[in-house]
C-alpha cells in the first residue's frame, strides 16, 4: 500500500527531473556545449548523491510547515504538486517544485483544519525573494570576475571554449548535487513521517537511514525525469529571457548552484553558527528562480535592454499561480480521496487545555489564567482552537504556538507489546530501557511523554549546542510517539 501511495511522490520526482534539470544543464545543452546524454548521466548521478548525502537539511522546514500525518494525505499532497508542476512544464514555464509543494501542503492544512505555521511559511516565502536576488548578485560578481580574467590573461577563443565546457560540466555537477540536496525535501518530505522504512547497514561499511532510503527512491525518480522528459525543456531554457553566451551560461549555472548549496548545506550552517554569524535558513528553494535571477542579474549589468521583460513577467506570474493551483488541486483531491475513495487523508488532532498543559503554559511566562474559561473544553482542530482563543485574548503567533503545542492531544499508553516492537536500529538499548521504566503509564500530550523520558534517562535529554544529537533525538521522539499513540 505504501508503494502505491509513494507513487505520487515518485511522479513529483519525475516532474522535478523533467523541469528542474533543465535549469542545471539546459543552458549548456541549449548552447550545444554539452551533449544531452552526457548532461543527463552526470545530472542523474549527482542528484541522487546530493539527495541521499545532504538531503536532510532542507526537509525539516517543510515538515514544520505542515506535518501531513496520514499516508493518503501525503499521496494527495505530492500528487497535487506533481500535477501542478507537470501542467506548468507542459506550458513550458520554468516552474518551482518548492512552490507547488508548499501550495499543496497549505491545501492539506486547510482541509484537515491544521494551522499553517506562519513562521515557517514566512521563512519559506522570504527565500523565494532572497533566492533570485542572491543569485543575481552572485551572477553580477562572477560575470565581472570572469570578464576581468579573460581580458587580463588574453585567453584564446578555443582555450576559453575548453575552460567554459569543463566549467559548465563542473558547475552542472555541483548544481545537480545541490538540486538533489535542496529539492529532495519537496519530493519526499511529506512521506518522512509516514515512512515504514528502517535503517539499513551495508556490511558495516556504510548505512542508510530510513529517510535516506526514501530520498534515494526520490532521487531515482528525478533521474528518470531527467532522461525521459528534460531534453525538450533544456532546449528552450536560457534563450527565452535573453540570449546567453556560453560564458554567461557558465556564470548563470554557477550562481544557481551556489545559491542552492547555501540553502541546503548543514555544514555551512554549522560553520556560520559556530562563528557567531547569521545562518542561512535551510529551506527548499526554487532552482528556476535561482537561474532566472542569475540571468536577469547579468542582463541588468548590461543595462537591461537585452532582457525580454514580457517573458520574465510570464515566468513570475507562474510562480504565483503555481502554489495557488497546487493548493486548490490538493484541497479538492483530498475531498475526493476522503469522501469518494474512503481513504484516511489526515488523522484528526484535537486540542484541550488540561491542568497539566496550563502548568506548562505558565512555565513559559504567559499566564494561563486568561484561558480559565476554556479549561477542559475539547477542540476538534487547531483552527477551532485558534478561533476560541482569539475571541478571548489578543493572540500573537508566539502565544498561539505555546498554547497549541501544550494542549495538543496525543493519547499514549506504554505497553510491553509495543516496547517489543521497537526497531533496535532506531532506538538504542539504553533508551529502550528508559521506556520500559514507564510501562503502564498513560500520557495525554506528547510533551508529557518526552518529559517523562528525559527524567527517566539522560539519553532522552536534549543537549545544549549539540544540534546533530538534538535533531537525531527529535526523529527518535517522533518515532516513539507514533509507536505508542492510541
Amino acid at each position: 500500500m505504501f508503494a502505491f501511495f509513494l507513487s505520487s511522490g515518485l511522479f513529483l520526482g519525475w516532474s522535478l527531473g523533467a523541469n528542474d534539470a533543465s535549469n542545471v544543464f539546459g543552458t549548456a545543452v541549449g548552447a550545444k556545449m554539452i551533449r544531452f546524454r552526457t548532461a543527463a548521466i552526470y545530472c542523474s548521478i549527482f542528484i541522487i548523491l546530493g539527495a541521499v548525502i545532504s538531503g536532510a537539511g532542507a526537509s525539516h522546514t517543510l515538515g514544520k510547515l505542515g506535518a501531513v500525518n496520514a499516508l493518503g494525505g501525503a499521496f494527495i499532497v505530492a500528487f497535487s504538486a506533481a500535477i501542478s508542476v507537470y501542467l506548468m512544464t507542459l506550458a513550458r514555464f520554468p516552474v518551482s517544485t518548492s512552490q507547488a509543494i508548499v501550495g499543496a501542503i497549505i491545501g492539506w492544512n486547510f482541509f484537515s483544519g491544521a494551522l499553517t505555521d506562519v513562521d515557517s511559511l514566512i521563512k519559506i516565502v522570504s527565500t523565494w525573494i532572497l533566492c533570485p536576488v542572491l543569485s543575481a548578485l552572485f551572477a553580477i560578481f562572477f560575470y565581472k570576475l570572469i570578464v576581468f580574467i579573460i581580458k587580463s590573461f588574453k585567453i584564446h577563443m578555443f582555450t576559453l571554449d575548453r575552460y567554459t565546457r569543463n566549467g559548465l560540466l563542473l558547475a552542472g555537477i555541483f548544481g545537480s548535487y545541490a538540486l538533489g540536496a535542496n529539492n529532495i525535501a519537496n519530493v519526499m518530505g511529506v512521506f518522512i513521517p509516514v515512512s515504514p522504512f528502517s535503517d539499513l547497514s551495508f556490511g558495516g561499511l556504510f548505512s542508510l537511514s530510513a529517510t535516506q532510503q526514501l530520498f534515494f527512491l526520490g532521487g531515482v525518480a528525478i533521474a528518470v525525469g531527467v532522461f525521459t522528459y528534460s531534453k525538450r525543456v533544456m532546449a528552450t531554457v536560457g534563450s527565452g529571457i535573453m540570449d546567453l553566451s556560453p560564458v554567461a551560461a557558465l556564470v548563470a549555472v554557477s550562481s544557481h548552484s551556489i545559491v542552492l548549496f547555501l540553502f541546503s548545506s548543514q555544514g555551512l550552517e554549522t560553520f556560520l553558527r559556530a562563528h557567531g554569524l547569521p545562518a542561512i535558513p535551510l529551506v527548499p528553494v526554487s532552482s528556476s528562480q535561482a537561474i532566472v535571477g542569475a540571468v536577469i542579474g547579468m542582463g541588468l549589468l548590461k543595462g537591461g535592454k537585452s532582457i525580454n521583460w514580457h517573458i520574465v513577467g510570464g515566468i513570475s506570474s507562474g510562480w504565483i499561480i503555481t502554489p495557488v493551483i497546487a493548493a486548490l488541486i490538493s484541497f479538492v483531491s483530498l475531498f475526493f480521496m476522503q469522501n469518494v475513495f474512503m481513504q484516511e487523508t489526515f488523522r484528526p488532532v484535537a486540542y484541550q487545555i488540561t491542568r497539566e498543559s496550563a502548568l506548562r503554559i505558565d512555565k513559559t511566562g504567559f499566564s494561563s489564567n486568561k484561558l480559565e474559561t476554556l479549561m477542559g473544553k475539547k477542540f476538534e482542530s487547531a483552527i477551532k482552537m485558534k478561533k476560541a482563543l482569539s475571541a478571548r485574548i489578543s493572540l500573537t503567533p508566539k502565544i498561539l504556538n505555546i498554547v497549541l503545542s501544550a494542549s495538543k492531544i496525543n493519547e499514549m499508553e506504554i505497553t510491553m507489546d509495543k516496547i517489543n516492537s521497537i526497531d533496535s536500529n532506531r532506538v538504542s538499548g539504553e533508551q529502550t530501557k528508559a521506556i520500559e521504566k514507564l510501562i503502564g503509564q498513560k500520557f495525554m500530550h506528547q510533551w508529557q511523554f518526552a518529559e517523562a523520558l528525559g527524567n527517566s534517562s539522560f539519553s532522552w535529554q536534549f543537549r545544549q549546542g549539540d544540534k546533530e544529537f538534538n535533531e537525531n533525538l527529535s526523529h527518535k521522539l517522533l518515532y516513539v510517539y507514533g509507536l505508542f499513540e492510541k
Binding site: 550545444k32 577563443m157 578555443f158 571554449d161 565546457r165
Partner: protein, 215 residues
C-alpha cells in the same frame, strides 16, 4: 576529456598556421610582383609555384579546421563567424595567387615609369592584408586589442584607392601607349586594388563578429 584538450590544442595551432600562410602569401605576392617587374622570369615562375603550394596548404588547413569545428562542436556560438572569416581569408590567398597567374598568363608589359607606382600599390595592398591578419589573430586571442589593427585595414585600403586612381589617370594620360595597352594596365591596377577592397570587406565582417563576441 584528454582527447578534447589535445584536439583543441591542435586546432589553435592550425589556425595560427593558417594565418601564417595568409601572411606569407601576401609577402610572396609582393616579392612576385617585384621579381616580375625586374624581368627575372625563372624566379617569377618559382614564386608562382611557391604561392600555389601555399594556397593548397591553406585550403587543407581550412578544411581540417572546419571538420574539427563541426565534429567536436567547438565554439558553437562563434563557429559560423570563424568559418566565414577563414573562408574569406582563403579567398584572399586565392586572389594573391590569381593575380600572379594573371601576370604570367598575359605577360603584360609595364613601362618602367609605372614600376614605382605599381610597387607602392602592391606594398599598400600587402599592408592592408597584414593589418587584417593581425586583427584576425586578436579576434582569436585578445579581442580587446582588435581595435588597434582594424582601423589600419581601412587606412591602407584608402591609400590603395588613391594610388590606383592616380596610376589609372597617369596611364590614360600617357600619349605613348595604345588604348589596348592602357585598358590592360587599368585592369591590372583594378585587380590589385580589389584585393585591398576585399580585405576591407573582411575587416567589416570581422567588426560585426567582434560585437557578437563582446562580453
Amino acid at each position: 576529456m584528454d582527447n578534447i584538450l589535445k584536439k583543441n590544442t591542435t586546432i589553435e595551432k592550425e589556425i595560427d598556421d593558417f594565418l601564417n600562410q595568409f601572411s606569407e602569401a601576401g609577402l610572396l605576392f609582393k616579392s612576385g610582383v617585384d621579381i616580375y617587374l625586374s624581368g627575372k622570369k625563372d624566379r617569377f615562375q618559382r614564386t608562382i609555384d611557391e604561392i600555389t603550394q601555399m594556397e593548397h596548404k591553406g585550403d587543407a588547413l581550412r578544411r581540417s579546421i572546419e571538420e574539427k569545428l563541426y565534429r567536436k562542436t567547438l565554439i558553437p556560438e562563434s563557429r559560423g563567424d570563424v568559418l566565414d572569416l577563414l573562408e574569406s581569408l582563403d579567398a584572399l590567398i586565392d586572389r594573391f595567387k590569381g593575380t600572379l597567374y594573371r601576370f604570367d598568363i598575359e605577360c603584360i608589359e609595364i613601362d618602367p615609369k609605372f614600376h614605382d607606382d605599381f610597387k607602392e600599390l602592391v606594398r599598400n595592398v600587402v599592408n592592408a592584408s597584414e593589418a587584417l591578419v593581425q586583427s584576425s589573430r586578436c579576434f582569436f586571442k585578445d579581442i580587446s586589442s582588435i581595435a588597434n589593427y582594424m582601423h589600419k585595414v581601412s587606412f591602407w585600403e584608402t591609400e590603395c584607392d588613391k594610388i590606383s586612381t592616380m596610376l589609372q589617370k597617369r596611364i590614360f594620360r600617357d600619349t605613348e601607349l595604345r588604348l589596348s595597352q592602357k585598358m590592360q594596365l587599368r585592369d591590372f591596377v583594378r585587380h590589385i586594388d580589389k584585393i585591398a577592397d576585399r580585405a576591407e570587406d573582411v575587416a567589416d565582417d570581422l567588426s560585426i563578429f567582434v560585437i557578437k563576441r563582446s562580453l
